[in-house]
Amino acid sequence: MSEAVIRVVGLGKSYATAAGLFPALRGVDLTIQAGEYIAIMGPSGSGKSTFMNLLGCLDTPSVGDYFLAGERVAEMDKDALAQLRNRTLGFVFQGFNLLPRMTLQDNVALPLVYAGKDKDSRRAAARRMLDKVGLAAYAESLPSRISGGQQQRVAIARALVNQPRLILADEPTGNLDSHTSEEIMRLFGELNAEGITIVLVTHEPDIAAHARRQVRFLDGRLVSDQFTDACGDAAVGTLPESSLEGGAR
């Protein structure tokens, strides 16, 4: 058994709305081991993004506990959270979220600025990452000059540049056509093969099939959790909600 990268216990999040408190996430328990490749599925509005934002330390839960790499996130101050976002995990958004006025290389290097790295190592690391996602030739271009699939690859390069062991991706292929989606999924597969833990949200079954574990959300609850083999067609089994200790390897 490897160490748990993510462990959430009784995690809940309620939004204040005009109609009162709305529970978008209720009592979610989940443990994710290092090196896993997990897909979060569920209909729109089921709380997937809410959950990812909590995992990504972008938002704080209303109830429950979240342990990231063994540390209790609730106890950390804002700077420590920023540091987690900077070094421990990389977040990939549906809408890419590149900074439009910066070259691709500068976009990729930006996390390193906040990590306090010097200019030369920033440049070298950004080049390496762009090369890894196959876009080294566009290093000096602006995001508006490349396609959506390419932008998403740059966003992944940015998420990877500080060498996190965990990638969180909220519908990374949501804005892409199926062919480009396949390319992105291949990239995620390669990263996972290198040992990087990947958590990705999707509502497309064939995208989710790339992962080796699928969890399903419905109305803010985690309703199913199943492991598949690497090819992704056979369900290994459905676990009851109470026993979510993963590690099918």
């Binding site: 972008l58 700077d79 976002r85 958004f93 006025r101 930006l110 906040y114 200019k119 500080n162």
Partner: protein, 406 residues
């Protein structure tokens, strides 16, 4: 880190060029105004200081005639109440450095075909020392010239230039009121007096000659004015009091009778003139700095707009690890940069205008190195002060709220 942030601030400024320039304009005008006002104000102060130092120190003048309670001066039509004897008696007093009875007026001078009108001062040799006149060429006249009323003259630089042009005036003869005078010396230049007169437009001749040949007073020995110089500033008050007592005694004025002369402290007048220019230059500077505040508010306004517009960008930066401090620094740096660029341009324009004023109007302007320093400090201060609130607002954004912002 800092270099990266500076680069980004520069990019952000360039991204909205027109807006950045318009924002800067407030600072340009503010700093420009301050620099111009400082240059003019300090110039005025310098000019006054300069003329005070050339006027002669610790001076007061005694004017004949008396002030009634109604403020009407009497005696100016009759015989002057002061006389040469008074002057001699005053010079005996403790703490008196120089005493010079004088009689002055404006007269026409003629040399060859040239005409020039200047202030003609009839006086005695101590006058030169009291008024700090120097002799540039030739020599001063002496007491014997006063005694025998010789027709000799010392002329100021302006007179020399206008009347004699390229000739060396020393030894030449010019006419004042038809009377030939031999120029024995040229006075060293003093420039403008604090009330704006050209002090070099002066001719100095012996008092006796002046009264007999130039002004033609029927009351020989009487004078309208006596110039007194105290030995030091500390002794001014005592000397003035003692002179008053002495003159009252000499003029046989009984207790209760008003003075038949009037004493005027020239140094005090000059001092108050200097004080006035100082106040004026501070006032000018203060008014100009109001435009700096207006410029600062402009920066704050634009930074607030910029923070709102770039909320999503801030969210993205936070999502990839920017701390509050990083966001704060970024926006503060942008504000300071706009402010600094505005200051720099304002400084240059201000200096150019100040030099232009000097060139076209001849007004004295003083450009001090401190102006640049002030501009620099002001830029940083205004940028930080007015950039602080918007930058803090940006830094305190919630990452997820900022990311959701459309």
């Amino acid at each position: 880190m800092w270099k990266a942030m500076l680069g980004e601030a520069w990019l952000a400024m360039g991204a909205n060029r027109l807006r950045s320039i318009l924002t800067m304009l407030g600072m340009v005008i503010g700093v420009g105004a301050v620099v111009i006002m400082l240059a003019i104000g300090q110039g005025a102060q310098y000019a006054v200081q300069q003329s005070i130092s050339t006027m002669g120190a610790n001076l007061f003048i005694l004017l004949s005639g008396s002030f009634t309670t109604a403020g009407v001066r009497s005696g100016s039509s009759g015989a002057p109440t002061l006389n040469v004897g008074d002057a001699e008696a005053i010079s005996e007093l403790e703490g008196v450095a120089n005493v010079a009875p004088t009689h002055q007026g404006t007269r026409q001078l003629v040399y060859g075909a040239q005409n020039w009108s200047a202030t003609v001062v009839g006086t005695t040799p101590p006058y030169l020392e009291a008024r700090a006149w120097t002799i540039a060429s030739g020599a001063a006249f002496g007491d014997s010239d006063v005694r025998s009323a010789t027709r000799v003259a010392l002329i100021g630089k302006t007179v020399a230039e206008n009347l004699f042009a390229d000739d060396d005036p020393v030894g030449k003869t010019m006419r004042i009121q038809q009377n030939p005078f031999t120029v024995v010396g040229v006075l060293g230049s003093k420039g403008q007096s604090f009330d704006g007169r050209d002090q070099d437009d002066t001719v100095i001749i012996p008092l006796s000659t002046a009264q007999r040949k130039v002004f033609g007073t029927p009351f020989l020995g009487s004078v309208r004015m006596i110039m007194v110089q105290a030995a030091s500033a500390d002794e001014m008050a005592t000397v003035e009091k003692n002179v008053e007592a002495l003159l009252r005694q000499r003029h046989r004025l009984r207790e209760g009778m008003p003075n038949d002369f009037f004493s005027r402290n020239l140094s005090a007048v000059a001092e108050s003139e200097a004080e006035t220019t100082r106040t004026m230059s501070i006032l000018l500077g203060a008014i100009a700095s109001i435009s700096l505040i207006v410029g600062g508010i402009g920066i704050m306004n634009i930074m607030l707009v910029s923070v709102t517009e770039r909320t999503r960008e801030i969210g993205i930066r936070m999502a990839i690890g920017a701390r509050q401090k990083d966001i704060l620094t970024q926006f503060l740096l942008e504000a300071v940069m706009i402010s600094f660029a505005g200051c720099l341009i304002g400084l240059l324009i201000g200096l150019a205008v100040a030099l232009g004023i000097n060139f076209f109007t001849g007004m004295v302007v003083v450009i001090s190195g401190s102006a640049a320093l002030i501009a620099f400090v002001v830029a940083a201060t205004v940028g930080i002060f007015f950039g602080w609130y918007p930058a803090r607002k940006a830094a305190r954004l919630d990452p997820i709220e900022a990311l959701r912002y459309q």
